[in-house]
């Protein structure tokens, strides 16, 4: 039967079909996840209460989901911006750590007057993230070095740098443990009075709006679309390819750096070895599922934040192991990804010659 059918790529994917494929994938994935969970001993009757109500419909659960979402939005947007110009940023965690280090550095040195401290920490984190991606960008533009390798390796270097600081100059002198001293109250993002949700939410939303505006409305966004579709054709058409690529890639690094600062100033209040772990995976999944669309990044990050909250519930109340939690999350994400196939392609019966 298979050799009697052809997959034909659609020229244009209707919005309705695209939405239906996402939703179908999500429902299929959740159903599969529910089956696995029931097999693992989670009572079927509790599924709705625990995962939908607890994760999205209670104030506390929703607060947790939104708190988890904030840095996810920033790294998701970061990845998406780079992908728009066909640049694979695999060094998300590296830029995030650089941003976190920049913010910590400002705090440790008490740079600037107190009211400007927090803005300075955030601004420098963006600069640090952008600088950390500027190197692979330059290597790629000058000598064609693959950014997949160079960003990835710079990520490892950033991690060793963090370790070096934490076991050296920045180690908390009172405890001897590898964490930086805690931030002063003025160096923290204010809480919004809803769980642990902090003002980083406004930064994340502003970043979404800004990115959507740049991509959707400005000339630069148009250039990026052309560069992303076909770099050589864009160059032949006389578009400023280098400038466009540079702005989007540096923006990508800056957003990932900002994510690092938001984690440090919003939830952790200090630099430690465990911040930022896993954000590479999340960033790529979000950008991919959202097809590099900023508004979709927001939605996907929210859902992924919900998956993390639900994962917490599984571990806390049902003793489900980490491996199983990851498996269930993977099943949901994979089925959403696979479902896109049906939006992108038409299945056509092959006619006998």
């Amino acid at each position: 039967m298979l050799d009697g059918a052809l997959l034909v790529r659609r020229q244009r994917v209707p919005l309705r079909l695209s939405a239906a494929s996402y939703l179908g994938g999500l429902v299929f994935g959740l159903a599969l996840a529910a089956l696995i969970l029931v097999q693992l001993g989670v009572p079927a009757a509790a599924l709705w209460q625990e995962f939908v109500v607890q994760t999205f419909l209670t104030s506390q659960g929703l607060g947790q989901t939104v708190t988890a979402m904030i840095p996810l939005v920033l790294v998701g947007l970061g990845t998406a911006l780079a992908l728009r110009v066909q640049f694979w940023n695999i060094g998300i965690e590296g830029q995030l750590w650089l941003g976190a280090m920049a913010a910590t550095w400002v705090s440790i040195l008490d740079l600037g007057p107190e009211p400007l401290r927090l803005p300075l920490m955030l601004a420098l984190s963006m600069l640090a993230g952008a600088l950390w991606i500027a190197l692979p960008l330059a290597l790629k533009l000058l000598w064609g070095v693959s950014e997949v390798i160079s960003t990835l390796l710079l990520g490892s270097i950033a991690f060793f740098w963090v370790q070096h600081q934490l076991f050296g100059a920045w180690r908390d002198g009172t405890t001897g443990f590898p964490t930086s001293p805690t931030l002063d109250a003025t160096e923290r993002l204010p809480l919004l009075g809803w769980g642990q949700v902090h003002a980083g939410l406004w930064l994340a939303l502003a970043a979404v709006v800004l990115a959507a505006a740049v991509i959707g409305v400005t000339r630069l966004g148009f250039y990026a679309r052309a560069v992303g579709a076909n770099r050589r054709a864009a160059r032949a058409a006389g578009l400023p390819v280098l400038l466009t690529v540079a702005i989007f890639v540096l923006g990508s690094g800056a957003l990932c750096g900002l994510a690092g600062a938001v984690i440090v100033t919003g939830t952790e209040f200090r630099l430690s070895q465990s911040i930022g772990a896993g954000y590479l995976f999340s960033g790529i999944v979000i950008a991919y599922l959202a097809r590099s669309n900023p508004l979709a990044v927001l939605v996907v990050s929210f859902l992924l934040g919900g998956l993390y909250t639900a994962g917490g519930v599984l571990k806390v109340f049902y003793g489900i192991s980490e491996a199983m939690v990851l498996l269930v999350q993977g099943v949901v994400l994979l089925s959403v990804l696979c479902a896109q196939l049906f939006a992108d392609y038409r299945v056509v019966a092959r006619r006998p010659q």
């Binding site: 708190t67 076991f167 001897g176 590898p178 642990q196 939830t267 952790e268 003793g319």
Partner: protein, 363 residues
Amino acid sequence: MIKLRSAFATGLLAASLPVAAGAFELKSEPKIAFIYASTVQDGGWNEAIDKGRAAVSEELGLDIAVAENIPEEATRLRAAIDLYVQRGYNIIVGTTYGYSEAMSEAAQAYPDVAFFNASGVHNGENMESFYARTYEAWYLAGIAAAEASESGKIGMLAGFPVGVVNWDVNGFARGAQSVKPGIDTTVVYTNSWWDPVKEGQVSEAILDQNADVIATDLSAASALNAAEERGAGAIGYQIDMSAAAPEHILTSVVFNWDAYLTPRIKAVIDGSWEPEEWGWFEGLESGVVDLAPFGPSVSEETKAKIAEAKAQIIAGELQPFAGPLMARDGGEVVAAGEVLPDDALWTMDFFVDGITGTMPAGE
């Protein structure tokens, strides 16, 4: 109990909540939860605490909830604590220093819940951090190692160069030197808390350098496997690791956390718990840290020496870090007749004389 101004003190002053007098009282039926950063069956640190949990559960006849793999990130830990508190849990035990900040914040947000944290750094009206003077038991293990060594060289694996690890290393070396003054202690830091493959390779490398005893300050048993295969003496940590080296095991430095947890949690339930202002921090005399039964190759004479040293430590006559204490790279740290104070223990960042190896990424 010796109560010195420790790192806990300065930590508390920095975070600062005045500790009010009077005992903590539960407002509802006790519901207990333990939170772990990785799997409970890790063969070491978590497993030792979970044995304590099981003992508490049996002693009190209460089910105790367990959450595994809650990462050392404020958002994830706080989410887990919120969930427990929301469902009526009122005694929450954390198991890693990485939980310190978030747990302290949670303790302030939930004043009616009792919080405990193993190797944590914060304390308060409803929160107590606890750890053991593990260097005392490592001193005893050092005696066992030196007595077993013929080559005059013993080895040790360590994780990250933090105070609680460095004092194990130095305690081990001091114990060994107490019976064989010229003995060389070779130390390698793996820069990880759990990496069995790397630990195995590092153990082989240390044994290749003519060491004939190897001790591990980590949770995996790789060093013991390597020692058993090569016929070298082995010393485990956290739980009795003799199964990994049945013939050549000398002993293991073990935690008996129930000696702390059971009376503590009982006190919370009967309303008599008053959190230690600077955290709970005791050694051999409390029974929380000790040596596991000795292996078949340990002589009666060695056992007698260890028993004597143990009795002296418990009596307060012997102090592993009493002066004169010389740092390998920087002269005298403690003068004769004095003892290293607790705050210097927590920030210990030097090797005592007689240690070979490097401490990574020091200042």
